[in-house]
């Protein structure tokens, strides 16, 4: 533990919810404009969460809150390890743990819609995990370390040797954000075939916790995008921030231009991306670059 680790963790804990909330608001605003609506105020996600907390509290059983809370805590834990400059593989494994807790929350309700959502969530986990791990291996091969701090400050921009992995990562980002065309597990808008999938039975504070943990997760994922550009200079950091935001914008555009695809497409396409963009890029890093 160094001073910068502590600062990183503190900044993450303080700023991530705010940034995540703003991004979510911007997302809704841009989406609305793309659909020629005015859209809610940018702070709407914050109002939503506050309202959820104030509502009458109900739950379908005694354990669902516990699982959602665990998911929340481990999402934050993963983010803390990342922003403390820690090991990227631990970050991936910890966020898998968080995701598993979320799935268990849905399963525990024993509700048809929640269970379909839960199954689809682990299906998506299976789809994106290879690409995610390959990205982290790519960072190691490109910059010689699995430590986020070393990659952040090390010389050389990881983007060029990892170009294939970068696009692969952008691809699975859509799944991670649970956005269309891959919003299989929660379906972004209610009143679809699986209602709200995974989150159907969450309400009140529990749903609020889920929303906030999504904000944290968004910041963590955009942090990885940022890492592709960092080479220890101020300019690279500014560029990284711009591109992190642009990739978020890209996800919004994709979200609005595609309908949800059949479930088969998710695994096939993301494994194909991992196999082609990911493995070939790794092979180049191993043997050529």
């Amino acid at each position: 533990m160094n001073w910068y680790s502590l600062i990183g963790v503190a900044l993450f804990l303080l700023l991530a919810p705010a940034i995540g909330c703003l991004l979510s608001g911007i997302d809704r605003k841009i989406t609305a404009r793309m659909q020629r609506r005015v859209g809610p105020p940018v702070l709407q996600p914050y109002y939503d969460v506050r309202k959820l907390i104030e509502k009458d509290q109900l739950a379908v059983n005694k354990v669902v809150d516990y699982y959602v809370l665990c998911s929340f805590l481990f999402t934050i834990f993963a983010g803390c390890i990342f922003f403390a400059g820690g090991d990227l593989l631990i970050v991936v494994f910890t966020s898998t743990l968080a995701d598993v807790f979320l799935v268990l929350a849905a399963y525990s309700c024993n509700s048809p819609y929640a269970q379909v959502g839960a199954q689809r969530e682990i299906y998506q986990l299976m789809a994106y995990e290879p690409m995610l791990l390959l990205t982290m291996i790519g960072f190691y091969l490109a910059k010689g370390s699995y430590q986020m701090w070393d990659i952040l400050t090390g010389s050389g921009v990881a983007l060029w040797p990892m170009l294939g992995l970068f696009f692969g990562f952008l691809f699975i980002l859509t799944i991670k954000f649970r956005k269309s065309p891959f919003d299989l597990s929660t379906s972004e808008h209610a009143h679809q075939d699986i209602v709200k999938g995974l989150t159907t039975e969450f309400s009140g504070k529990t749903l609020a916790v889920f929303e906030v943990s999504h904000w944290f997760e968004t910041v963590l994922l955009l942090g990885v995008v940022f890492l592709f550009f960092a080479n220890g200079t101020l300019w690279s950091y500014i560029l990284g921030l711009i591109f992190a935001f642009l990739s978020f914008f890209l996800e919004i555009i994709i979200d609005n231009s595609f309908a949800r695809m059949k479930w088969q497409v998710v695994l096939k396409s993301s494994w194909a991306v991992a196999a082609v963009l990911g493995l070939i890029n790794i092979a180049l890093l191993l043997w050529v670059l």
Binding site: L58, K62, L69, Y107, P112, Q115, I122, W287
Partner: protein, 636 residues
């Protein structure tokens, strides 16, 4: 008496006693006492020799060789008789071939051949002694209560004395494998474990059991033949018959590629790697303690033990590449096959095959870090998998099914067992538990060794692994209203064993830094020299603290929060009016619709037939090409 002799002989004596005793009242205490004695003896043995590193024992007794030979011939004759009785010919024919080679070797080559040291103990065998001694003994304790229920269900002739006899002979033979330095001895014990599994799998004598027992025998004798041919080739070339000399020869550059390749083949068969995986799946017909024993502490562990032992000779040569490729492909394809299984024992079986594949791949890579990961995987797998099998066995006796689909709401029906199973499953694939830590180590090693095939198999395989474990976990945690608690009749000894194993699963996660420091690392330093810098950087102390913090969090959170919610309860959302029991709803036209929830198996993609077929074709190809190259004398 030396503790080594005690470990080898004591289970044998108990086995004979158990064969003679027919009364439940005597058997139970005898098993409890002797299991405790074996556990204490194993721990004592490790403590006694830990500081000495490798200790060799002379232990020669002239008639012993003849005695072993006689036992092998008797077993061969038994197989022929049984083969005749059940009209199964492949296994007896193979047994005859193997015995013929053995006899030829014994008569023409072995004359005047004496081993300087017949037995030895080093840190790797100490780990095996602990696994066999502790886990194996605990399983026999569990078997006491389980077999009582089994007999009550089964109503056939009570052959439990035979069952316990074979189990204890098995333990003795396993100790023999890991402590023998003389390859002939090791081969003898190797064969004994094959025959013990044969008898255990065929225990119920149903058609299926007999078929699968012979399948096991057939495949494992192929491994046995590879083993005896390996010994014959090695002895003819070098005129020594010891494991340590074999390793010495290999490391000093003398050509022992063929015997090593053959021994690896024997290890691959025993570790149920593709293309030989079918025997382990077939072994599922046996009573649960048998499966637990075969999967966790004995039999398959003998296979990976041999491969890990040979690891210094593998690495970047033809045999090394073959072993790692077979292991990695098995990991990937067996993990995929597990997705399509709804039978809990078959899921566990495929998961065993997969995890052993990973250990085999680590052995094939044959570097300090790889073998570190392999040994830790072996330890964690032994504990976690025995826990999983035994809890599935208990569930089966109380809910009447071993199908995961029938485990709906186990959390309500058998809360304590469900909690144990949840810990077991989490232990198989989630951070911060041991299996994941060793998988992580394996991943970094595969990256270090620049092997793209291994990296690909591992990352896709572990993604699939998360899928099938999580969906099982989901079935367990579902809260179904109005369930009756059915776990009150579980035997006390079953609970005791399950509890001990659960504590062990968690304890080894806390204790793995110590385990690594005091047993695994000394062995690796002794074999490979000092660890590489990169390895220390990744698995340095800092991360151990993070992992321990997570583990503590995972223990504290449920104690503090689980089931503490005081929120008013509401009913779940359905496609109509919930009838209030969360089990049915009133749909359109007033019809009552019952809700059933089923898991997702994706058979069109991951059917086990398909995976088995792909796996067999690919691995047979790898093995055939390897032997062709080795025989042609090609080297890298």
């Amino acid at each position: 008496m030396s503790p080594i002799a005690f470990l080898l002989l004591f289970p044998l004596v108990i086995a004979i006693l158990l064969l003679l005793i027919r009364s439940d009242r005597v058997r139970a205490p005898l098993v409890y006492v002797s299991a405790t004695a074996i556990i204490i003896a194993s721990v004592y043995t490790v403590c006694r020799y830990l500081n000495d590193g490798t200790t060799m024992f002379d232990f020669s007794w002239e008639p012993l060789g003849t005695l072993m030979f006689a036992v092998e011939v008797i077993l061969c004759i038994t197989v022929i008789c049984l083969g005749y009785k059940y009209k199964k010919w492949a296994a007896p024919v193979l047994a005859v071939i193997q015995t013929a080679i053995g006899t030829w070797f014994e008569l023409t080559q072995a004359g005047g051949l004496t081993a300087d040291h017949n037995l030895y103990i080093d840190e790797l065998s100490m780990i095996m002694v602990l696994i066999i001694g502790i886990i194996g003994s605990l399983i026999t304790v569990y078997a006491v209560g389980y077999m009582k229920d089994f007999q009550a269900h089964d109503k056939s002739k009570d052959r439990r004395p035979w069952f316990f006899f074979v189990m204890y002979v098995f333990l003795s033979a396993m100790f023999g494998i890991v402590l023998s330095n003389n390859l002939m001895w090791m081969f003898f014990f190797w064969e004994i474990t094959t025959f013990c599994s044969f008898f255990l799998i065929g225990y119920t004598r149903t058609d299926e059991a007999i078929h699968n027992a012979f399948l096991q025998l057939k495949l494992n004798i192929i491994g046995g033949i590879a083993f005896i041919v390996a010994i014959a080739v090695f002895v003819c070339d070098q005129h020594v018959v010891e494991m340590d000399k074999l390793l010495e020869c290999g490391l000093s550059g003398i050509d022992v590629v063929l015997p090593v390749a053959l021994l690896c083949l024997a290890g691959i068969v025993k570790a149920a790697q593709m293309p030989f995986q079918s025997w382990l799946l077939g072994a599922m017909v046996a009573p649960t303690p048998t499966s637990a024993l075969l999967h966790s502490s004995t039999m398959v562990k003998a296979g990976v033990f041999l491969l890990l032992k040979l690891a210094p000779l593998l690495g970047k040569d033809i045999v090394g590449y073959a072993v790692m490729t077979v292991g990695a492909l098995t990991f990937l394809l067996a993990s995929m096959a597990a997705v399509s299984q709804s039978n809990a024992k078959r899921v566990l079986a495929y998961s065993t095959i997969a995890n052993l594949g990973l250990i085999v791949a680590c052995a094939g890579v044959g570097t300090y870090e790889a073998v570190w990961a392999g040994i830790l995987l072996m330890i964690f797998h032994a504990i976690t998998k025995s826990l999983m099998f035994l809890s599935v066995g208990t569930a089966e006796h109380h809910i009447g099914s071993r199908n995961i689909e029938d485990m709906d709401g186990l959390f309500e029906r058998m809360p304590r067992l469900a909690a144990i199973m949840i810990i077991g499953i989490a232990g198989m694939f989630l951070i911060p538990f041991g299996m994941l830590i060793s998988k992580w180590a394996a991943l970094t090693t595969f990256v270090e060794s620049e092997n793209l095939v291994l990296i690909a198999c591992l990352i896709f395989g572990s993604a699939v692994t998360s899928f099938y474990w999580t969906k099982w976990l989901g079935k367990l945690v579902g809260v179904v209203a109005h369930c009756e608690n059915v776990e009150k009749t579980v035997h006390k000894d079953e609970w005791a064993v399950l509890d001990i194993l659960t504590v062990l699963v968690i304890a080894v996660c806390f204790g793995f830094p110590l385990l690594s420091e005091y047993i695994v690392s000394p062995y690796l330093i002794h074999v490979f020299g000092n660890p590489p810098e990169a390895f220390l950087a990744i698995f340095g102390t800092e991360y151990v603290w993070i992992l321990l913090a997570m583990l503590a969090l995972l223990i504290i959170l449920p104690i503090a929060l689980l089931n503490k919610s005081k929120k008013p309860q509401s009913s779940i959302y359905m496609a109509g009016l919930n009838n209030g029991d969360n089990q049915s709803y009133t749909g359109s036209m007033g019809a009552t619709v019952n809700v059933t929830l089923r898991n997702w198996y994706m058979e069109s993609w991951f059917s086990n037939d398909r995976m088995d077929k792909i796996g067999v074709v690919m691995t047979v190809l790898v093995i055939v090409v390897t032997f062709a190259l080795v025989l042609a004398g090609v080297t890298l």
